[in-house]
Amino acid sequence: MVAFDRVRAAGLVKLYGRTRALAGVSLELHAGEVTVIEGPNGSGKSTLLQILALTAKPTDGTLTFGELDARRHASTLRRHLGVVAHASMLYPDLTGRENVRLYAALFGLERPGARAAELFERFAIGSFGDRPVRTYSRGQLQRVSLARALVADPTLLLLDEPSTGLDVAGVARLEEVVHAERARGAIVVLVTHDGGLAARVASRRVALQGGRLVPAPEGPPYRTDLEARSPDGHPPEATERSAASAEESR
């Protein structure tokens, strides 16, 4: 069930000592949309995601989920959030099933075991789900991590560089999840340097630079000058095309 249909950030400022990570970010996110946040390293993307995930408090500015103020209703709102990041947030000495069951219980679901079984079926997590997480490959880790994040059918799904280190099949699975969650009516926010993924799933693209929102560039996703140039000097589009055709030929 969708608990709110929009998230509104107004004038978000985040200071870490003298460092200004966010310098007045205003943004509105809507149900059924995938918003891709682009920007170079250190531009404030992860800080913005932490604030949206209610794990960091803004120094200034307001954040509302529907009509609910994030500061006053954080505990209630956390029931409706799901986060996938590069780190899996799973306990390596527990099995995948134990981890997902734990999170289902933490989110107050009445039948955590049954919910874990449902998600294991959805993500085709076979017998490896009953092995300790420490033994997983990156792709297996991602599948269980997605199951963990979706345990309570989140209204707001935050994805922070989720495709880092994944193979083609892993990225495709991630893409399917993003499309399915958008179709379900969730608000999806994706921070990624993976231009291909961003282009395929984005309903809308915004960019952060120096802690401020700037108009997203047209065409390929935001890159710094250094990132935009491949080692052999080709423009990024050409590099992506050649990488894609190399994958296809494999």
Partner: protein
Amino acid sequence: MKALLRGAWLVAAKDLRIELRTKEVTMTTSFFAVIVVLLSSLAFYLDRNVAAQVAPGVLWVSVAFAGLTSVLRSWGREREEDALRGLLLSPIPRASIFFGKLLGNLLFLFAVEIVVVALVALFFHLEPEPLLPTIALLLLGSFGFVAAGTLFGALSVQSRARDLVMSIVVFPLVTPALLGGVVATRELFAGATLPEVVAWIQILGAFDLVFVGAGYLLFDALLSD
């Protein structure tokens, strides 16, 4: 209150499940405590009178260091794969995480204390009478310094100076509890009864209340960015 207790139990049960599987914390800290007791008995045991004076210090030092090592390791598990962030993203009250970790850490330490008390009694030839009240004192004292360690150990997850957190913040804070525990135990070994050391028990109880209260009130703020 129900949500707080339920969340705490889930966190503690998770820690116990991991510990039963790996036995990492209890084995390493027990080994450390056994070495301290063994070396101390070799170094300081002269006769029964000296033993009764030295044993309280040995007991509390080994339990304190084992306890704080166990707390650090327990928080270290939350650092792997950024697992603590997963807990912080869940809707359980933040204080549940504190109480859950506290309960888990206490149970690990109680397991170590059983071994330590038995070994101290054996190597220092202690009379059996004061052992029961000594165990009660240990439990009371452990509660306070594990609460302090659990509270500030959380900082170690996010801080790169995690070892400094323990040596600069936690050890000075738990010193009053250790002093109270050592002195009260020494009195018991010298023949005092439990009512005669009630002042020390009250100090330990107050210490427990302060750090459990501080954990309840400050844990969220300590973990906020």
